[in-house]
């Protein structure tokens, strides 16, 4: 199952690159640098999805104390942090030629950086607490609190005046995006979602093996 997911992710990433570079047109105002969007935006969506999975699994762990739920929360939050790191880094690379700066302390960038640091703290907490049960409990609480910040990140562009543009897709009303660009974005999202699911499945398996080895 995990292997099949891995092959699907590899095929998806190949399809995403073909669509993003071969099918989607050159953007009129930004030029080809806009193609970073096919990586930057899906990466944050996959990070959001992973953190939502982590949130649900953390709540389930606190309610039932099942180790499987804790392992899923750990894996999902770790993978979400990897994707969020990619999102922040590619955003900085895209920001330099288009905004003239790698980084600015506007509401969107600052709020996403806060969430990233919170999830880094989540991963450090997992390593820091020796008692596994206690560490899992603390991490579940931190994972829930950190995931609750995601709406703040998403709506920050509406609530404050920011350099970052408002969402083009996840918003009320229809999108003004060209259909070809929209399809390229969605294909890349599907590809990265498959990659994220593959990483979560594999990481969960590793965590289960680790627990077995420690028992």
């Amino acid at each position: 199952m995990v292997k099949v997911l891995g092959w699907l992710a590899a095929l998806g990433v190949a399809a995403g690159l073909i669509v993003g570079f071969g099918v989607a047109p050159r953007e009129v105002t930004q030029g080809n640098v806009q193609r970073i969007m096919y990586l930057h935006v899906p990466a944050v969506w996959v990070a959001y999805l992973s953190f939502i999975v982590g949130f649900v699994a953390s709540v389930a762990y606190l309610a039932r104390r099942r180790e499987g739920a804790d392992r899923l929360a750990h894996a999902a939050c770790e993978v979400g942090t990897v994707f969020l790191g990619v999102n922040i880094a590619t955003g900085a690379i895209w920001g330099k030629p288009t905004w003239g700066t790698w980084w600015t302390w506007d509401a969107r960038l600052t709020s996403v950086a806060v969430v990233f640091v919170m999830f880094l703290a989540y991963l450090l907490l997992r390593q820091a607490v020796e008692d596994r049960e206690r560490g899992a409990r603390y991490a579940a609480v931190l994972g829930i609190v950190a995931a609750l910040n995601i709406p703040l990140v998403h709506f920050s562009v509406y609530w404050w005046r920011t350099l970052h543009q408002p969402p083009s897709l996840i918003k009320p009303g229809s999108s003004a995006m060209s259909p070809v660009i929209l399809v390229a974005l969605l294909v890349n999202f599907a590809a990265l979602a498959l990659l994220g699911a593959y990483f979560v499945a594999r990481r969960t398996r590793v965590l289960a093996a680790e627990a077995e080895a420690l028992a």
């Binding site: 080809n32 640098v33 990619v86 590619t90 030629p97 990483f199 590793v206 080895a213």
Partner: protein
């Protein structure tokens, strides 16, 4: 606006580096755990080399 292909390459290259690095880290961790498990299995099945070998019941002499 110029195309800035260097920035596009940097973004995709960095993402590839991170994703491949994470994938390789997972594979290495799985490999280490598998090696540890097989090592443990071998130790539990092989006779102890540190303890004294126990003689067959028929050859044991009663304690004085």
């Amino acid at each position: 606006m110029p195309d800035n292909w260097g920035f596009v390459l940097a973004a995709y290259g960095l993402a590839a580096f991170v994703f491949l690095g994470y994938w390789r880290w997972l594979i290495r961790k799985e490999h280490d755990l598998r090696a540890l498990r097989s090592d443990r299995a071998m130790r539990s099945h092989s006779p102890s080399r540190t303890a004294h070998p126990r003689p067959e019941p028929g050859s044991r002499a009663p304690l004085p």
